[in-house]
């Protein structure tokens, strides 16, 4: 095997199309490093990640007998896998390769001082060479993978993911917190741009999911714990009792008198604590709202029935997890555009429900008052500016665009005009962002409909106040309109509709259980928007839909199918391979102190075992790789330096530190 021979190191410095070579003198580095012991060849290239660049490395391995590879290029996150692939194709063990980030951590941050950037690159690369000398071939850990995925969330993204995963021949468990499937999409009436009925589309999807033999649906269920790793997650689920049976449900619902605000209609109506959100919901059996049920007996056929929630806990063993937990519409704080203070200020989701509750032919009213003039304000809770908007609870402002609200607002405007042609509609926006296929149509149509568009500046927001007493309109909107050269326009209206944006949802610590992170916008974060757009940094956990950021239905569907494709690739073969970076014990040095076992917090990762050697009973630490995470707590605890994390050994770090601290003048001399 080439890896057992004396190290013959190939060193490659990437120009990255000027990104690195603009600050780092790559040729000088190559020349200098050529002087180091064990370095067989050094090269530079315009773009090492290209096919030509990779082929060059492969050729050196085959033809020059290079058996260790050091690459200085962009961040390892981008291309470590790429080069592992190249090294493997040339017949070398993929772990006999060391990647040094010269772009994000050097040329991009020290561009003002090329000498210093080059100097730093030289030391980092020389550290890479020092580590390369000590690299050992490693084999990935191969684990059986459950051909079973968990989808968290039963909205349109979760449903679509579940269906698409099942269609690839895998089993799916779908866990939904509420008693009914459908999520936010169920609260919509029609969808843009096709004007199809939202619940009709949704139920076509739900029917397929419900009918699929490989999908199990758990409603009123929550994930309470996650252990394990890709291919073998052990998930604890708690499921509440439905509280009623098919036989007694309707009668109980009729007999129940306790009512609470109906969240399906955003509190515009009341519903019972035994309820169905809407006719035709799935499952069709009503459910008990345990959070609100006051525990009072319900009298049914002369009997007093007390409903009891007896949650059951169970475990699921799954190979991958799809997070499709959705979003919440932004709730304006009291006073933002008069919200919570003036009863005539509502949000767009409110109006959608209100319109749904208003029968065709009925006049449009709010609080019993006829509406003749309505103003819709865009970007409420989106595109917020520090210093202008009130920060959220965590001190941040929502500086992102919520993407959906512009078209959703104009879709509503078109609907309002269609149903109430006499209505005067004012649209207050910063920019109209009808970007999608068929979206611009709504903008043109509403312009033709006579909707009055006014454009405000994001730093001079419109003002909403109660109209002076005696005014026939209850609310006055003032806006400096950029379309009329900043003139302040006063618009008396009967109703103000706030086009609220998307808020990242509080998912009750689920992200901590799954160990996935949030981005600066507080939505769940993908690894890289282009390289791995639906995968999280945790192997086997993928994102679907608006948990990741604002998306419309079409976009959520695509993201959900994409997530399914990733799960299918991962689990389809029935096994997964894990990186070999786990602890390993040098049995010659270990004398069974047990210090490692004491510090290890991972169940079953390390244990002392008794061996018989030369007639003596001796104890030694033994690692179970599948349970070891490679944190290295045992490494620093071992008094005999008998443990190392494979691929990240203490000796390798010592060698790298030595190289960084070394006097480089002699090396650099040669290169000048």
């Amino acid at each position: 095997m080439p890896e057992n021979q004396e190290p013959r190191i190939g060193v490659y410095v990437c120009h990255c199309g000027g990104n690195i070579s603009g600050a780092v003198q790559c040729e000088l580095i190559a020349k200098a490093l050529k002087q180091l012991p064990n370095v067989t060849i050094t090269r530079t290239d315009e773009s090492l990640c290209s096919d030509a660049g990779q082929s060059m490395i492969e050729a050196d391995i085959k033809e020059l007998g290079v058996n260790r590879v050091v690459i200085g290029a962009c961040a390892p996150m981008l291309h470590e896998q790429t080069f592992r692939g190249a090294v493997t194709r040339a017949g070398l063990n993929p772990y006999l390769y060391q990647h040094i980030g010269l772009r994000e951590q050097d040329s991009w941050v020290h561009g003002h001082d090329k000498q210093a950037a080059t100097d730093k690159a030289l030391r980092l690369m020389s550290a890479g060479v020092a580590k390369a000398r000590l690299l050992q071939p490693l084999e990935p850990i191969r684990l059986g993978a459950e051909k079973h995925a968990l989808v968290i969330g039963g909205g349109v993204a979760g449903l679509r993911s579940a269906l698409d995963i099942a269609r690839q021949g895998l089993r799916v468990s779908l866990v939904e917190r509420s008693p009914f499937l459908g999520g936010r999409m169920a609260q919509l009436e029609s969808v843009f741009p096709t004007e199809e009925e939202a619940r009709k589309l949704l139920h076509a999807l739900i029917e397929k999911v419900a009918a699929h033999p490989d999908i199990t649906i758990f409603t009123q269920a929550e994930v309470t714990g996650v252990a394990g790793y890709v291919g073998n997650f052990n998930v604890h689920v708690q499921q509440h009792t439905r509280g009623v049976t098919n036989e007694n449900a309707e009668a109980l619902m009729a007999a129940c008198s306790q009512e609470v605000p109906d969240e399906f209609n955003y509190g515009l109506t009341q519903r019972k604590v035994i309820y169905k959100p809407y006719a035709g919901c799935y499952p069709s059996t009503p459910a008990v709202d345990w959070e609100n049920y006051n525990g009072e007996p319900i009298s049914l056929n002369g009997k007093q029935v007390v409903l009891k929630d007896e949650p059951k806990a169970f475990e699921l063993n799954v190979g991958a997890v799809v997070v499709a937990t959705g979003f919440d519409p932004y709730t304006p704080p009291q006073g933002e555009y008069g919200f919570g203070e003036l009863p005539q200020v509502v949000t767009l989701p409110h109006l959608i429900r209100h319109l749904a509750l208003t029968k065709n032919g009925q006049p449009l009213q709010w609080n019993g008052r006829a509406i003749r003039d309505v103003a819709l304000i865009h970007c409420v809770g989106s595109r917020q500016v520090e210093g202008i908007h009130q920060p959220q609870a965590d001190g941040q402002v929502n500086n992102y665009c919520s993407r959906v609200c512009c078209t959703a607002t104009l879709h509503m405007t078109a609907e309002l005009h269609k149903r109430y042609p006499q209505l005067n509609i004012f649209d207050l926006h910063q920019d109209i962002r009808t970007y999608g296929r068929g979206h611009e149509e709504y903008y043109r149509r509403t312009l033709e409909d006579g909707v009055r568009f006014l454009r405000y500046n994001g730093e001079e927001l419109p003002k909403v106040s109660a109209a002076p007493k005696g005014d026939i309109h209850p609310v006055l909107v003032k806006v400096k309109d950029r379309l009329t050269y900043g003139e302040e326009i006063e618009i008396p209206v009967d109703l103000v509709v706030l086009a609220v944006g998307f808020m990242p949802r509080d998912i009750h610590g689920l992200e901590k259980m799954l160990k996935v992170s949030r981005g600066a916008d507080r939505f769940l974060l993908e690894v890289h928007p282009k390289l791995r757009p639906v995968e999280t940094a945790v192997n086997g956990i993928v994102l679907a839909g608006t948990a990741q950021g604002p998306m419309n239905i079409q976009e959520s569907l695509s993201a959900a199918s994409a997530a399914a494709a990733k799960v299918a690739s991962l689990l389809g073969r029935g096994h997964v391979e894990l990186p070999p970076f786990v602890a390993s014990v040098d049995e010659h040095k270990c004398n069974g102190t047990g210090a490692c076992v004491e510090v290890c917090l991972y169940e079953g990762a390390i244990a002392l075992q008794t061996f018989e050697e030369n007639g003596e009973q001796i104890k030694r630490a033994v690692i179970t790789p599948a349970n070891c995470v490679g944190c290295g707590a045992c490494v620093s605890a071992c008094p005999n330096q008998a443990i190392d994390v494979q691929g990240w050994t203490l000796a390798q770090y010592e060698a790298m530190v030595e190289a960084i601290g070394a006097d480089m003048s002699a090396l650099a001399e040669v290169a000048s």
Binding site: C74, R167, N399, T434, A565
Partner: protein, 443 residues
């Protein structure tokens, strides 16, 4: 060539087609990817950096190109065109034309000796004709495959390449060849073109010296570009005042292109930021109707550009003319002040929109061979976008990326994976999967 039997044929080797191919192949399906150009990579490989991360574009594209080329389940068919598609049982019979490269790809090592020897210089479409290459060449430095191709339109048949080729790969006798593929499903990833500059008379109809298209600017900004810097094509001078005219070929009823092209705001802002880096003294103005920075991290990107000093002027540009020094003069109604003004710049970039690569305005492409119904916008029609966004009117044919309408790279990649999910489910459900499935060599 022997006839191939495969699970999925991907038409188009741009970012969307490559991603669909990889996702299907990673699941063990046998895939063929057909590309009409001599290299895969599509439009994306010609770009400089990508928004909003400002990653070097080739750093994102080349590994995908390489992964496609090395995947044991992908048959790569470059310089090929789809001639016809016929339904056959539950699958398709596809006739493919292999255009002659005049180079034996089994022998060519991509050493480029032929290219260095070739006496003929030809404008390079890869560089938007700003730069040049030889009549025989490897299409560009990161091309996949790294194989030479000869352009018969310009070749003098002098034979120098043949003499210098160390592996005797030059073959002047090559003829177009047709072969058939049997595929269980098809993914259309045929991509886009820019709205032609010639169609907009008010903006000079492509005749003004220093009015360029955004893909030209990409080549000016790309490290692999023909000049390695930003200059005026008219006279090579370094511009100090650069303007972007947004919606130049989108949201324009006079062109019958009424839709938003979705990427122009972000690419203009990105280019403005990159120009600020390359030419710190340059003043950059963006004339716009609405700034549509709607994607993840995009609004912050826009705010950063404003903070960096890029000037955003709201107003529709009425016309562009040029003065005697070939400086473009932009006539615009500035809606914030209500005045029509004329402003002179050194260089104007028209933020042209996106039309389907198979647009009837341009030469016909694969869409016609596949005969799929198109929407009123000219892109492939999707009957149920809110329930099956990648499914076309013809069973077993799926669509992804800009073939179904303007979209940016992130959305194209997600749509490509979604199309792969639809196609793979279709293949399984129809039960006519090809038997042999190899595992990828690496993950």
């Amino acid at each position: 060539m022997d006839n191939l039997r495969i699970d999925a044929l991907i038409i188009g080797g741009g970012i969307a087609g490559m991603q669909s191919a990889l996702d299907l192949a990673d699941q063990g399906f046998q895939v063929a990817l057909v590309e009409r150009e001599p290299s895969i990579g599509g439009r994306m490989i010609t770009l400089s950096k990508v928004f909003p991360t400002l990653d070097c574009c080739s750093c994102i594209t080349t590994p995908k190109m390489s992964a496609v080329a090395h995947h044991p389940n992908i048959h790569l068919l470059t310089y090929c065109e789809v001639q016809s598609v016929r339904e056959h049982g539950t699958g398709f019979d596809i006739s493919i034309l292999q255009k002659p490269r005049y180079v034996d790809v089994s022998k060519c090592t991509g050493c480029r000796d032929c290219e260095y020897e070739c006496p003929i210089t030809v404008p390079s479409p890869f560089d938007r004709n700003l730069g040049a290459y030889r009549a025989i060449r490897v299409p560009f430095s990161t091309a996949v495959p790294q194989k030479a191709v000869l352009d018969p339109e310009y070749c003098l048949w002098c034979g120098k390449c043949e003499q210098v080729c160390p592996v005797e790969a030059i073959d002047f006798t090559q003829q177009p060849e047709t072969f058939n593929i049997e595929a269980a499903s098809i993914v259309m990833a045929t991509g886009f073109d820019l709205t032609p500059m010639e169609t907009k008379k008010e903006y000079g109809a492509g005749k003004l010296h220093n009015v360029i298209d955004p893909l030209m600017m990409e080549r000016f900004l790309a490290p692999t570009g023909p000049y390695g810097r930003v200059l005026r094509p008219g006279d090579g001078k370094e511009p100090t005042s650069i303007a972007y005219v947004q919606c130049a070929g989108s949201r324009d009823e006079t062109l019958n292109i009424t839709y938003c092209s979705r990427v122009c705001c972000m690419y203009a802002i990105k280019q403005a930021m990159l120009i600020s880096g390359a030419l710190p003294m340059a003043e950059i103005t963006i004339y716009y109707m609405d700034i549509r920075t709607f994607g993840k991290g995009y609004e912050q990107f826009y705010q950063n550009a404003k903070a960096m000093g890029v000037e955003f002027v709201r107003g529709k540009v009425a016309s562009i003319k040029e003065d005697s020094d070939q400086n473009p003069i932009v006539k615009v109604e500035m809606t914030d002040i209500g005045e029509i003004v004329e402003r002179t710049h050194d260089l104007v970039v028209l933020s042209q929109g996106i039309i389907p690569a198979s647009s009837p305005i341009l030469r016909g492409g694969s869409t016609q061979a596949v005969s799929l119904p198109l929407g009123s916008d000219g892109f492939i029609y999707v009957p149920a976008p809110d329930s099956a966004p990648c499914v076309t009117e013809r069973a077993g044919i799926f669509v992804t990326g800009t073939a179904m309408g303007p979209m940016d790279i992130v959305d194209s990649i997600i749509s490509a994976s979604a199309a792969a999910a639809e196609a793979s489910a279709y293949i399984r459900e129809n039960g006519n999967r090809v038997e042999a499935h190899k595992e990828a060599l690496y993950a």
